[in-house]
Symmetry: C2
Subunit: 179 residues, 2 copies
């Protein structure tokens, strides 16, 4: 079974983008080896909004061979550079295929679906030293409470970015009553 | 000038309590030296809700000599164990008094006020390895965006708790337009 990792940058108050979807607060630490990071993946999964935002910024160009977009509304014919998955549960099939790790790119809503479906195996956050005060959350509200296991942590001195690695422990997941 | 530090435990998705104000998800790591931590303070500042929640749990008993509650509604006569400050800005006067560090206990709303008034000097979070999915935020929504400087980080192996220390860099603080 392949591993799917939600790998994102977030502020200390757990936003992955500012209220307008902006990223100007993310400082790229020169010492983070992105090439090495990307090498561990051969597929990237993202939600429709993340896909469209990437396209707007001059085209989709993530250095990962195969891209998948989870969307009920996008048509395959309109997405020549990605495979459209019409149902989040179909990501389970991807995990059964042979290959390297799968990068869950985001956004938060897709992460929530993947967490509720118990499909995401690891959470890797680059904590940027900033309090944004508002924005798009790492994890939008959900009744699921997921315990994690800290598997790694590395500070980067130049920017004060912290790279944190967690495994999701579904055996200890619980769901709150009521909405 | 005394230093005020906002020191709290939070989930990875930046909640300091569950939706009902509960703390059952906070695992006390036996290796964290709370005595040593408390020694650096001689005053604690908290909001009304935090004060009342502490009282409900069998009385207020934090091992810090002097307690202050920021509240417009509480009466001093009803709070024999704390000094009532009727205005958040009065915390500035506390900082001018001689003494050790001031512990900003919380909650998030008071932290927001203190941040907007530029009165909190450091943010120290114990990141508990859990995604709560909802709850009381570390920092409720604000237009202020505060840059931080990572000054320390320490993992605790037994529980996977991470202790992170940041300084607030007000020189680089910005305020978004509109509400």
């Amino acid at each position: 079974m392949r591993i799917m990792r939600y790998s994102v940058a977030m502020s200390l108050d757990a936003y992955i983008a500012d209220p307008k979807g902006g990223y100007d607060w993310i400082v790229m630490d020169p010492e983070i080896d992105f090439k090495e990071m990307f090498k561990s993946y051969d597929a990237v999964v993202m939600g429709r909004k993340s896909y469209e935002a990437a396209k707007q910024k001059g085209g989709y160009g993530m250095p990962v061979p195969k891209a998948y977009v989870v969307s009920r509304t996008l048509k395959q014919a309109d997405c020549p550079d990605a495979v459209v998955l019409t149902d989040a549960a179909k990501v389970a099939d991807l995990k059964k295929m042979k290959g390297k790790d799968i990068w869950l790119f985001g956004g938060g809503e897709l992460f929530r679906s993947m967490l509720e479906l118990r499909l995401v195996d690891a959470v890797e956050v680059a904590v940027i030293p900033v309090l944004l005060g508002d924005g798009l959350p790492l994890l939008p509200k959900t009744l699921a409470r997921a315990k994690l296991k800290l598997t790694g942590q590395k500070p980067f001195k130049k920017t004060g970015t912290l790279l944190l690695n967690y495994e999701v422990r579904y055996g200890m997941m619980s769901v709150r009553a009521g909405r």
